[in-house]
């Protein structure tokens, strides 16, 4: 059964077809990559799935229910979490607090419970804090828990973002260029992490320019070019797909 089903999805910006009639599905439990040259529409595709942008046509279904048209927070609470190509951490909050916000969907203390500091919320807060610390440790950044997240080094900021996304215990994780700006060691560690995440039964949809990372860890690849899907196959088949090589790999062969 496909976890995510994208059908004839389109998004126009004026005359530009940023995503043009794209259909594919993401089966449960795999790592699937979306690749394509700059401006191919990969980030736009993520924004459509996560509800950040209204779509022009088509539909997105998650667990066989239509999610297109829902607000981002509703989609998030259904079990889709994401990271951003341009990191978006909460200004003025520590790394730990950033990750704790990630626990929002799986906790419930509201305005009244918060204002009256009801005893049952203490336990919830403690759990949130512990879980967030564990995630920071998992990503090797526990020592920066109390540092303001936006003042961390680039790679660490990416790690905080990933921890935050994992804190929401998503069923589908959308990663938009998670390796951008990382050195080779960090990238290798990331590859390991993403595989570990997949082993925890979290399905991963990954946008990435780092071809060796993509070919190493993903089970299926979708190729976009100028908003259109030009191929969808296994990594091995994609590497030998003539159109892909011509349109994408051919013009960017040092990738």
């Amino acid at each position: 059964m496909a976890l995510l089903e994208i059908q004839q999805l389109s998004r126009r910006f004026g005359g530009l077809r940023a995503v043009d009639d794209v259909s594919f599905s993401v089966p449960e439990g795999i790592i699937k990559a979306v690749i394509g040259p700059n401006g191919a529409g990969k980030t736009t595709l993520f924004n459509l799935i996560a509800g950040n942008l209204p779509l022009s046509a088509g539909s997105v279904s998650f667990k066989e229910k239509r999610i297109s048209g829902l607000k981002p927070f509703q989609i998030a609470s259904k079990g889709i979490s994401r990271t951003y190509q341009s990191i978006k951490l909460y200004l003025g909050m520590t790394a730990l607090e950033n990750v704790m916000v990630g626990c929002h969907t799986h906790s419930s203390a509201g305005f009244l419970a918060g204002m009256f500091n009801l005893p049952w919320t203490w336990k919830e807060e403690k759990q949130i804090r512990e879980k967030s610390m564990e995630l920071l440790s998992l990503l090797d950044i526990a020592e920066f828990a109390d540092t303001e997240a936006t003042s961390l080094a680039f790679g660490q900021q990416r790690a905080v973002e990933l921890a935050r996304a994992l804190a929401s215990e998503p069923e589908l994780l959308l990663l938009d260029e998670p390796a951008a700006g990382l050195n080779i060691y960090e990238t290798a560690r990331l590859a390991e992490l993403i595989t570990k995440v997949r082993d925890r039964k979290i399905t991963v949809l990954l946008v990435e320019h780092d071809m060796s990372l993509v070919m190493d860890i993903s089970e299926e690849i979708v190729v976009l070019s100028f908003g259109r899907k030009i191929a969808e196959d296994t990594p091995h088949a994609i590497q030998t797909n003539r159109e892909v090589v011509r349109i994408y790999l051919g013009e960017d062969d040092d990738a």
Binding site: A76, Y90, V101, S107, M115
Partner: protein
């Protein structure tokens, strides 16, 4: 764990008592009047601090909510409803014993709302109006939100100024005291001065505890996340629109309660309380207090309101607050009480907490 946030509360209470005792021994009890009024303004300002500093929204309409509370309570407890006492609406309220009769000095029977009933009705009215305004307006951001809330403030101001029921330019006077509990009455009587000082500061303390709790809760974290990166908060499942609306309404209720109590304390309310310059003043106080600092907002609200009420700014009163706003925005957008030594103190406490 978690008690650290209350540390300043006993300090505040000690200061409150110390100030009262000082006025007693220096025979300057008249200061208590302005300190009581300042406390109510502080209640409003701390509520606004959550909207501005934590959720990152601005409201130039909070004097409007103060006025809605004050005017509703004043009108219901002061207007003589005897001529319309057989109206279905009044009979409805009477059935629940929400009305009371008093005799004026000419022996005429006056029919008014009980202050508690008036207070609850005023708060409900505030909540309804805050939702009605907040739902469309909070979709806006930045300057647009500022302008829209400003528009709301102007509307409230013109309404109280133009409505006979609200006393037009004279406002409402001879508002009775508010017997909050048996023996505890909010009024401006000379011998109730000390009691009222403590009533006001009790209310401020309760308000502060509620807001401190909220800031340090899951909701407070979500509000700060909205401030820090709104779409990323949304992407983590925070209902950003709903949260902004709720905190706006809560702060409106704080403003309204401040208006209700201050009106009973002063024995009246006039249109200047609804004025736009008042709203600007509250925003300026939150800004100078450090935006996201409840304690900064509290200290600045009390200090500046006190000076203003003592007439220290003379006829430049409003100009002073305008100037504060400009200077803060130019030179200290993080507020005055955010100097580096404070950070050091904070770090010190953080370390000691880690060890424990």
């Amino acid at each position: 764990m978690g008690l650290k946030k209350y540390i300043p509360i006993p300090i505040l209470l000690l200061a409150v008592v110390a100030i009262q005792l000082t006025t007693h021994y220096t025979e300057t009890p008249f200061y208590l009047t302005q300190l009581t009024m300042s406390a109510y303004y502080a209640l409003l300002v701390t509520g606004l601090c959550l909207v501005m500093g934590y959720a990152g929204q601005i409201s130039l309409g909070h004097a409007g909510f103060f006025a809605i509370g004050g005017y509703t309570s004043a009108a219901l407890t002061t207007f003589n409803f005897t001529p319309v006492k057989d109206h279905a609406v009044l009979r409805f309220f009477d059935k629940f014993h929400l009305l009371m009769t008093t005799e004026d000095m000419f022996g005429d029977i006056l029919l008014n709302f009980h202050p508690w009933a008036a207070c609850v009705i005023a708060i409900i009215v505030t909540i309804i109006i805050a939702f009605a305004i907040g739902i469309p307006v909070l979709k806006l951001k930045g300057h647009y939100l500022a302008m829209a809330t400003l528009g709301f403030g102007i509307i409230i101001y013109r309404i109280v100024l133009a409505t006979e029921f609200f006393g037009e330019a004279d406002g409402i006077s001879e508002v009775p005291g508010f017997n909050v509990l048996p023996g505890v009455s909010v009024n401006g009587d000379f011998d109730a001065r000390i009691q009222n000082y403590y009533i006001a500061w009790t209310l401020v303390t309760i308000g502060l505890v509620l807001l401190l709790n909220l800031i340090h809760s899951r909701v407070g974290r979500a509000l700060r996340a909205i401030h820090g990166a709104e779409d990323a908060a949304d992407a983590m499942g925070v209902d950003t629109a709903g949260y902004k609306l709720n905190i706006f309404v809560i702060s409106a209720v704080f403003a309204s309660i401040a208006g209700i109590f201050l009106t009973h304390y002063n024995g009246g309310i006039g249109p200047s309380e609804a004025g736009v310059m008042k709203s600007v003043r509250y925003v300026a106080i939150v800004a100078i207090g450090g935006m996201a600092s409840l304690w900064g907002a509290l200290v600045m609200a009390v200090g500046l309101s006190f000076l203003s009420l003592r007439g220290m700014f003379g006829s430049y009163d409003d100009a002073v607050f305008g100037a504060i706003l400009i200077l803060i925005m130019l030179f200290a957008p993080d507020g005055l009480l955010r100097l580096h030594y404070l950070d050091k103190v904070k770090r010190f406490f953080r370390k000691t907490e880690d060890i424990s």
